[in-house]
């Protein structure tokens, strides 16, 4: 950094300062500076407009939907058949499909992710940690369409050899593969939380004669709990919003069930199903995707806000 040469225009501006009339440097340059600042601020405001745009689009179309379908039907009916002649608009079959695939994914991701996090933070040599952490993160970077193909073409036939009754489209296969995809969300964030636990806490525990595993489970994990919970919530939220894996491998039959062996439909795959067809805009069928979208958006928003609460606690609130 010692050899940092002075950029030219800075020098020019500096030396030219005295010779130019004072009002020019005062009025022209500050205006340019202000313009730049406003332009950059405008870029920042795009994010606010994006949020407003999402809310506006979802709400406008959803209001149109709820003009025709009552909230009582939406949350009271147990059938979802907007694309049939006999139309029912009960959201529960889509929610149960989403819940089922998400639950399976979470059951996979939490144990795998936590074990990985504990190993990486408490046992792994620095070099192994440097390699394994990013290696696991590759799992979250693979396009979901690839996982969908994998679930349909490889995982489902494999599972069918174990469970002969398994349908070609099912929640189990989609959920399992989705679980693998979200492992790094649990492992990376939890590892950060474990890593942030002060060394002195571990040393105190060892000093009292506690074994290494006892220290991990009685001292380190509890101290990092809010960060771990945050990572799990974030992973669940990602699973709820995941689309292509379930659209490809879980089927497109809205069904109020918790049976993982039959085809189901999630909120996201319903939106895909309608988008792939030629539903004319402005019809009630078209508006259903925005009503489903609002529900989905609300669920993930609540989870993300919750998760950030927990992260804040582990960052600022110390260990309690």
């Amino acid at each position: 950094m010692a050899d940092l040469t002075l950029p030219d225009p800075v020098t020019r501006h500096d030396t030219g300062h005295a010779s130019r009339p004072r009002h020019r440097t005062r009025s022209v340059t500050p205006l340019g500076e202000k313009l730049i600042e406003w332009t950059l601020l405008a870029c920042g405001l795009v994010s606010i407009f994006t949020t407003l745009g999402i809310l506006a689009v979802l709400l406008v179309e959803a209001v149109g939907f709820f003009d025709e379908v009552s909230l009582a039907d939406f949350f009271g009916d147990t059938q979802w058949t907007p694309l049939f002649a006999d139309k029912h608009f009960g959201i529960w079959p889509l929610i149960s499909g989403t819940f089922l695939t998400t639950a399976i994914a979470t059951l996979v991701a939490v144990p795998f992710g936590l074990l990985a996090a504990i190993y990486l933070s408490e046992f792994a040599p620095a070099r192994a940690r440097r390699i394994l952490k990013p290696a696991l993160e590759v799992l979250a970077g693979v396009p979901t369409i690839v996982y969908g193909y994998f679930a349909l073409v490889v995982v489902t036939p494999l599972l069918q050899q174990v469970f002969p009754g398994l349908a070609g489209f099912n929640a189990l296969s989609a959920g399992l593969v989705m679980g693998i995809m979200i492992i790094p969300m649990v492992s990376s964030l939890s590892e950060d939380a474990l890593h942030a636990v002060p060394m002195s806490l571990r040393e105190a525990s060892w000093g009292l004669g506690a074994a290494r595993l006892t220290t991990i489970f009685k001292v380190v994990l509890p101290a990092a709990m809010s960060g771990i919970v945050a990572s799990i919530i974030l992973a669940v939220s990602r699973a709820i919003g995941e689309t292509m894996i379930v659209a490809i491998a879980a089927g497109q039959q809205p069904r109020l069930t918790l049976d993982p062996s039959v085809p189901v439909e999630t909120m996201t795959s319903y939106i895909v199903q309608v988008s792939m067809g030629d539903t004319p805009t402005g019809t009630i069928e078209y508006r259903t995707i925005f009503a489903v979208g609002v529900t989905l958006f609300a669920m993930t928003l609540v989870m993300n806000v919750l998760s950030r609460r927990f992260v804040k606690r582990f960052r600022y609130g110390g260990t309690r």
């Binding site: 950059l40 920042g44 994010s47 745009g53 696991l136 396009p143």
Partner: protein, 290 residues
């Protein structure tokens, strides 16, 4: 945790500890092996199918004659436009937050907003694109509408990576430049941005490789699944690589699944190339700025 490893090794490991470590290693190995298996399996399925005709061919009702050319060109259009839109906006937003916004209430509000947007499912962005770009702004189901949608989707990635990079520029460099009479923008333009460039580029490539694999929002925005011509300007209809793959995956015939595998390999190789370029670029630039 290097601080702990010294005294721990001295204590030796008991049986429970060893079992726990073994279990953890298995928990790390299984997902990684599945990833390898996934790629290997797809590669085996795809190998016999990828050739020049596949790359420059048009879709066909016969699986063996079908190609991905319109999808490839569509994806190029999409990531090109997305980069043009999302990078300046994202870098601009990050610059304002780091260099101007400070701890103001507005900056805090924008920050919370970006964090929330990063957690919004991609299919919701599709609904936004459909409602805002396709319908309200009347862009139709065009490649521009798709790119605008993807731009909003990847903006949080660009912003976060850029902010991270800006934070690594030491404050005393800014002060030194300011003390020499540089205005705020001159400091940014000539001192801060050049030093942060490697980080910004990494963020850009991360954003692009996310955009290239996105499927759901493009389906909602209305990408075509069967396209026998190439988009010639941003107002034209389009298809994209992941859309073409989805189209093939959802057909019952085995032969189309092979096509899907071949398409996936093209997608993965493209992403891998992008990421390698990012790593190389970053290493080279880092060496230069030091």
């Amino acid at each position: 945790m290097s601080t702990s490893s010294v005294d721990i090794k001295r204590r030796g490991r008991n049986l429970g500890e060893r079992a726990f470590i073994a279990l953890s290693l298995v928990a790390i190995a299984i997902p990684l092996l599945i990833l390898v298996g996934l790629v290997a399996n797809t590669l085996v399925d795809a190998l016999g199918r990828i050739d020049w005709d596949f790359l420059v061919g048009y879709p066909s009702r016969r699986a063996s004659a079908a190609g991905i050319f319109p999808a490839l060109i569509g994806s190029l259009w999409l990531i090109g436009l997305t980069a043009l839109i999302a990078l300046p906006l994202g870098v601009g937003a990050a610059l304002w937050l780091e260099e101007y916004g400070g701890k103001s209430r507005l900056a805090g509000f924008i920050e919370v907003n970006i964090a929330n947007l990063a957690g919004v499912p991609s299919i919701i962005y599709g609904l936004l694109g459909l409602g805002l770009f396709v319908r309200f702004l009347d862009l139709g189901r065009s490649v521009l509408a798709g790119a605008l949608t993807l731009s909003l989707l990847v903006m949080p990635i660009v912003i976060m990576a850029t902010r991270e990079a800006l934070r690594t520029v030491p404050g005393h460099l800014r002060e030194a430049a300011a003390a020499l009479g540089a205005t705020r923008w001159q400091v940014i333009r000539q001192v801060v941005l050049p030093m942060a460039l490697p980080g910004v580029l990494t963020g850009a490539i991360l954003a692009i490789s996310r955009a290239i694999g996105e499927t759901a929002p493009l389906i909602v925005v209305g990408a075509l699944t069967y396209m026998t011509f190439l988009p010639a300007d941003p107002g034209d209809p389009f298809t994209a690589l992941p859309i073409q793959i989805y189209n093939w995956v959802s057909r019952p015939q085995e032969a189309f699944l092979v096509n899907a595998a071949a398409g996936i390999m093209v997608l993965l190789v493209t992403m891998l190339t992008l990421n390698s370029v990012a790593v190389l670029l970053r290493n080279r630039l880092q060496r230069r700025t030091r």
